[in-house]
């Protein structure tokens, strides 16, 4: 019987701990247990055998840390020996029952970027090597375990999917707060793992069975696949100078039996458990039938922290999209990722649940930019993302790097579209927006759109994609072109909801195209759509009218307990976003804008700038208002009458004013010169560098920010490409100053036209000279002064 068949009908018994048993056999502190597969095969085999004889159906190969980071030269030898030891244990054990060997894969001990430095693709490749050897040497399944980070979990799972056809189980290490260390909830993990097609999922390690009960219940409520539990033998404590676990086999088996009665179907033990524990569990549960599986049929997307279920109306922010937005297009062309990030944060604060991400413009490399945008957005927001592109290659690049289960926008009823998009959804998981149009265009009547929806569902089924993972867009068309357009869209929405039992989505704003006062039409159309069953709207969350529709609908339809959401949102209903009453400035300030910037009032600075633009030229505002205000704050900082946070608040306010100025100026006219900025290779401290960037931008310089941990060659390439006259390098640690020196040498040799200024905690004026820099800045204002000297 293969493992998948066995899993369908039975309670599956895994094994227990390995480490404690090896220590008892003499494994020294700090010694790699995986080496013992080769040096002490008999001992490893005997432990596996003891587990089979205690009742285990599956033992995990002794390969928890078997990866090429730890075993550069002998990885295959270790993995093949490990599988062989487990297989011999099967042959030698006399007990009845199905027996399997799982290739055990644990975490790499390195955090993935952005929290750590390991690149996602590098992690995939490291896991891939382990998977290939495991499959080659005869493992029956893959068990990825003790993962405390969702992103690393995804890397391991992707490597397993791409390099073998074995069944895959994934178990994560949840903390006492029922989250993974990097923040994911059980529901988020179920979305990610089921989306990618694991055969079972669950929790292991970190806690005892009692403490994991809550996590187990939440997994059971969300998962349609079998749930696995492999807890520790309670919590460790010290007894007579030795570490022992506080739950004994009998109690452990009672706890697990209780969880099996709730629906857990795969059980075993982790740290502190021994064959005795598994024997006790086996005796308690032998011959019992598992609780039948139930399909949950929930439409769910997830981020690295939480899941969003389409059970009440979902708002998808539409603002990360260049269509019709001049400033956004300019940001894309200039590779100004921060602009995109701010749109993400602002929409999140406005109350959307998911962010649509579209960066498609003819003149840019969409594959690279979409991937970057998706990665970067995940550093500033924990909302799930909807990846919006017509290019399947860009779609895949972004999906790969997405830390969760994304939305894919979109597929249509065209054969070619389905053939490209469905395999991506199957591989990476995801909820797909399906447009009800096909090779013949958009049907003008309701039944035509419903027919296309049916066709899409049938095709999805062929790819193994469930109805719950498809959200139909019945296409809002402008009523200015066809007065019945809205009616058809709404009727199709209702039909798909009621007849097909599927979820729906609409790009609401299209309905009013070409008409004045679009918000009025959009918001009423949105209410009508919600009443007809709309599950999700791609919409503008900055529109107060749209948000009113949403909160009122929920309040009126009993979806807002105690009207909490409505009451909270209603505070903002009276005031349209961003407009605030400008107070009279105090006398000591030369103007209102000076006052706003000096005091660090962001919104106010933006608002006053808007007003000033009606009577002043953009550059005049910069030269007569913004720069003098910043100079004043900068001098205050040098004289220590202004503190660092105040300087930064002023800089942020000035930046807000600049954003408004940029809108009013043709692109390319805003910059006084290019300044390349980087934290040197090996160094990951960038707060100081980011402050320098902010101030330089305030003074009108174009800053090409290369980020942190930047190799010398990349710095040089950028300097050459931009013909940059100025380069700023930062290093915080003594260990990374040599990398700074190396970078300076390289740039001085190949790009002598470029002046280099350095800064960072360990540097001094003298040291800067010694390593060949042109200047040293002790803080951000020093960097601005130098830029003024060189560039004017």
């Amino acid at each position: 019987m293969n493992f998948n068949e066995f899993l369908k009908e039975n309670i599956v018994f895994l094994d227990g701990g390995m480490g404690t048993l090896l220590q008892a056999k003499g494994l020294a502190a700090g010694e790699y247990p995986e080496l013992w597969n080769v040096t002490h095969p008999e001992i490893i085999k005997d432990i596996h055998k003891a587990y089979f004889e205690a009742g285990s159906n599956v033992v995990c190969s002794n390969t928890f840390g078997a990866n090429c980071l730890k075993f550069k030269d002998n990885l295959e030898e270790i993995i093949s020996a490990a599988i062989k030891n487990a297989k011999s244990a099967i042959e030698e054990s006399a007990t009845q029952g199905e027996k399997f060997v799982a290739l055990d894969i644990g975490p790499l001990g390195k955090l993935l970027s952005p929290l750590g430095e390991l690149d996602f693709e590098d992690a995939v490749e490291i896991f891939a090597k382990t998977v290939r050897f495991g499959a080659k040497h005869g493992a029956d399944l893959v068990l990825i375990e003790t993962m405390n980070d969702s992103y690393e979990t995804k890397a391991a799972l992707l490597a397993a999917k791409e390099n073998c056809t074995l069944p895959i189980i994934v178990t994560n290490a949840y903390g006492e707060d029922s989250k993974l260390m990097t923040g994911a909830s059980p529901e988020a993990m179920v979305a990610l793992l089921e989306g990618m097609g694991v055969c079972a999922l669950g929790a292991n390690c970190s806690l005892g069975p009692k403490q994991l009960k809550g996590v187990a219940q939440r997994l059971l409520a969300s998962a349609s696949v079998p749930v696995v539990l492999k807890p520790n033998a309670g919590l460790p404590k010290i007894e007579n100078g030795k570490t022992v676990f506080n739950v004994l086999p009998q109690e452990f088996s009672l706890d697990l039996a209780e969880l099996v009665a709730l629906g857990v179907r795969v059980v075993g033990g982790c740290c502190g458990t021994t064959p005795e524990y598994i024997k006790a569990v086996h005796e308690k549960l032998e011959g019992k039938m598992p609780v039948p599986l139930s399909a949950k049929n929930k439409t769910v997307v997830s981020s690295y922290t939480h899941a969003v279920e389409f059970s009440s109306p979902v708002l998808i922010g539409e603002r990360i999209n260049p269509t019709g937005k001049k400033r956004f297009k300019q940001a894309l062309i200039e590779n100004d990722i921060n602009y995109i990030l701010n749109e993400g944060v602002n929409q999140s604060e406005a109350g959307v649940h998911i962010l649509d991400v579209n960066v498609g413009l003819p003149e840019i490399d969409e594959v690279a930019l979409l991937k970057t945008a998706v990665c970067e957005l995940q550093t500033v927001t924990d909302l799930p993302l909807q990846i919006d592109t017509s290019d399947p290659i860009a779609m895949e690049a972004a999906l790969r790097r997405y830390n969760g289960k994304a939305m894919l926008n979109s597929v249509s009823g065209k054969r070619e579209s389905m053939e490209k998009i469905f395999p991506l959804a199957k591989k990476y998981g995801g909820v797909i927006v399906a447009l009800t149009l096909d090779e013949n265009g958009i049907p003008e009547n309701t039944s035509g759109r419903v027919e296309i929806a049916k066709k899409i569902l049938n095709c999805a089924k062929e790819y193994g994609i469930d109805k719950k993972d498809i959200v139909f867009d019945t296409l809002a068309m402008t009523i200015s072109a066809n007065k019945d357009a809205a009616r058809v869209t709404l009727d199709a929405l209702k039909a798909i909801t009621e007849e097909l039992g599927a979820k729906t989505s609409l790009g609401v704003s299209n309905v009013s195209f070409g008409l004045p006062c679009r918000d009025a039409i959009n918001s009423i159309f949105f209410s009508l759509a919600l009443e007809n069953g709309l599950s999700a709207a791609i919409m503008n969350p900055y529109s107060a009218e749209m948000m009113k529709s949403y909160y009122t609908f929920k309040a009126l339809t009993g979806q807002d307990n105690n009207f909490e959401e409505y009451i909270k949102a209603s505070e903002g209903f009276g005031v349209s976003a961003g407009v605030q009453v400008v107070q009279k400035s105090a006398e000591e300030y030369s103007s209102e804008l000076d006052h706003a910037i000096s005091k660090g009032f962001k919104e106010k600075a933006a608002e006053i700038t808007k007003q000033l633009l009606s009577t002043n030229a953009p550059l005049d505002i910069v030269n007569n208002e913004i720069i003098p205000a910043l100079n004043k704050v900068g001098i205050g900082f040098e004289e220590k009458t202004v503190y660092l946070p105040q300087l930064l608040m002023a800089a942020e306010a000035a930046k807000a004013a600049f954003e408004i100025i940029k809108l009013a100026m043709p692109s390319g006219q805003t910059t006084k010169g290019t300044f390349v900025l980087a934290t040197v290779k090996g160094d990951i401290h960038d707060i100081g560098k980011n402050i320098v960037k902010l101030l330089l931008e305030n003074y009108g310089y174009f800053v090409a920010d290369l980020g942190k941990d930047v190799p010398p060659q990349k710095v040089l390439d950028t300097v050459l490409e931009k013909r940059a006259q100025l380069l700023g390098l930062s290093a915080l640690m003594t260990t990374t100053v040599p990398a700074m020196e190396e970078t300076i040498k390289l740039v001085k040799k190949q790009a002598p036209f470029c002046k280099i200024i350095v800064g960072g905690a360990v540097l001094t004026e003298d040291y800067a000279k010694k390593i060949g820099a042109d200047a040293y800045a002790k803080d951000a204002t020093g960097a601005v002064k130098f830029a003024k000297e060189v560039l004017g």
């Binding site: 006492e176 010290i238 921060n338 930064l648 090996g682």
Partner: protein, 195 residues
């Protein structure tokens, strides 16, 4: 290699605002205090303090500090630990989610990033105090001041041993990179002599 004692629940004392303002090089004007307040509430939900420690027998001969499971050479640590029969070695972190906040605000608001850095520094210090308090209670003995790798002549490379013997990756999810920096960034390891 026995596993260390891990503690996942700490009721840390309330943040010390003066200390945070000092770390942030901030004044006490209203605008700064407002942002500090905002950052404190952002941080509150992102901090998950946890720690683990082992108590080891100690032998000192000259500059060699022998902890049984491993040893280091450092005259300053030897001096710090003189008169101690035992030493606690611990790792502590306020968690990875706090780093997400730092990364987010270093991109969208440097002002808040500076305050968050300061809050993180204050919190992890407070956490270390709580860990020492716990060890003090468990052993019923007085403690020497904490001593970390990189202080004085105790090489930063000692981090590698501490990570290996405490299993910090497994028990706390703290990892060490090639420059010997820890992730999550607001993490500390230290030796504490037990008198």
């Amino acid at each position: 290699m026995s596993c260390p004692i891990t503690i996942n629940r700490f009721n840390l004392q309330k943040p010390n605002q003066n200390e945070i303002l000092r770390y942030a090089k901030s004044g006490t004007d209203k605008a700064s205090l407002d942002i500090l307040g905002e950052c404190l509430s952002l941080a509150e939900n992102a901090i998950a303090p946890s720690a683990c420690y082992k108590i080891l027998d100690l032998k000192i001969s000259g500059d060699l500090c022998d902890f049984g499971e491993f040893s280091v050479i450092s005259s300053q640590l030897a001096k710090n630990l003189a008169c101690c029969q035992q030493v606690a070695v611990f790792g502590a972190t306020i968690g990875a989610e706090f780093d997400r906040l730092l990364i987010k605000y270093s991109k969208i608001s440097p002002t808040r990033a500076v305050f968050l850095q300061a809050i993180g520094a204050e919190r992890v210090e407070t956490l270390c105090d709580a860990v020492c308090q716990e060890i003090k209670q468990k052993t019923g003995k007085a403690l020497r001041p904490r001593f970390s790798a990189g202080y004085g002549d105790l090489p930063l490379e000692t981090q590698k041993d501490i990570f290996l013997y405490l299993g910090l990756e497994k028990w706390l999810g703290v990892t060490l990179n090639e420059s010997l920096l820890m992730s999550p960034s607001k993490s500390v390891t230290a030796f504490v002599g037990i008198l």
